[in-house]
Symmetry: C2
């Protein structure tokens, strides 16, 4: 054994570990503040306070407010894309779309702030992730639409415009994050485990039956 039980992984010294932890803390704080106040309403001071750092320190790790924001949005997009794989390698729409809804509902529950930042970014014309929309997202969407069309051609689901089906999947699932506040007010409080389960099953039931898949 070596000196002690310090490094979980070789190569990462205290410096590097600290750096990553601080960056992570800043990104988390930024995600919260951007979600709650929007880009314009967010303040480097607010983010710094939430992260427990002096404001000047933020600028040591992130050159500008824009760059910090960009990093937040990119991180969300990654999570979003990884979850999208839930739809891959499925034999048919029942499994593929069902799993996709499960994954996206889970993201809405676990990362509501990320979803809000993404929504805000798109609503304001996608100033920083326009290229993602035009490349990565466009390609992914086209691929998924083709898969869905394949299922339709194989008679595994009712004829449905794949593009609009995808929009409905995004809309229905992300709504629970983006409009979470409204939902909590109407629900009379935060959603319980049972509430989330009911939400997930409702979405799956309506959409799967809506595309002619037995449930």
């Amino acid at each position: 054994m070596n000196t002690s039980s310090d490094a979980e992984r070789p190569k990462i010294g205290r410096r590097e570990a600290n750096r990553r932890a601080t960056e992570e803390a800043i990104l988390n704080a930024a995600e919260t503040v951007f979600a709650e106040a929007g880009f314009g309403g967010a303040t480097m001071q607010l983010i710094a306070d939430l992260a427990g750092l002096p404001k000047a320190n933020l600028h040591y790790y992130f050159a500008s407010k824009e760059e910090l924001y960009r990093r937040v949005v990119e991180r969300i997009f990654q999570i979003w894309l990884e979850a999208a794989q839930a739809m891959d390698d499925a034999p048919g729409p029942a499994e593929g779309i069902g799993a996709y809804i499960d994954a996206k509902m889970e993201i809405s529950r676990r990362y509501p702030n990320g979803s809000k930042v993404w929504a805000s970014e798109v609503m304001h014309g996608a100033p920083v992730i326009q290229d993602y929309l035009e490349t990565t997202l466009r390609d992914w969407t086209a691929g998924r639409a083709a898969v869905i069309q394949g299922w339709i051609d194989a008679g595994k689901m009712a004829p449905t415009d794949p593009q609009h089906l995808l929009y409905m999947l995004w809309a229905a699932t992300q709504h629970y994050a983006d409009f979470g506040h409204q939902i909590e007010v109407l629900n009379g409080g935060p959603l319980s485990d049972a509430d989330w389960r009911a939400a997930r099953e409702s979405v799956k039931q309506i959409i799967l039956r809506g595309i002619g898949v037995a449930i």
Copy 2:
């Protein structure tokens, strides 16, 4: 007859007419700017420029940025509520929910900025319309949920959680306004009349079939 063919309606002089027109122009400009930049990113100067007025004039009509914003949000909420009546007086879900989807899709198409401002407001915790959520919206939602439950009990549609069905209706329709930019990118340009028709029919098809209503 009176002096000439001036007043369409009695009682409204040039003063009053001017006032209303100016207020309207400011509200329209504000809606656009708030939608594109968010509350924090919006600038009284930007709104003034878009309305073609000096900034100081805005403060003659609206005491503060907050009040102007509040007026914009309230106006949207009115349109939203009026369209909600499309669901009333329907004999069953096919007509009621079908008409509601039609109405909401039309709003998404005609007033995308209003929808965005509303979404932004809710996402940021509804700082100015919290009371609307707790009173008007809550009551309306409860009423509609009861109607839907009645349809279910009458065997006119499949058993479905009314609350989550409403969320899906809001999500699916408003998505075309709030995420209009993303949709346009994926669509390779603005949606045509045919595109909008396809969107509307897709939403209706999936949801109506999803709740067990023949189409």
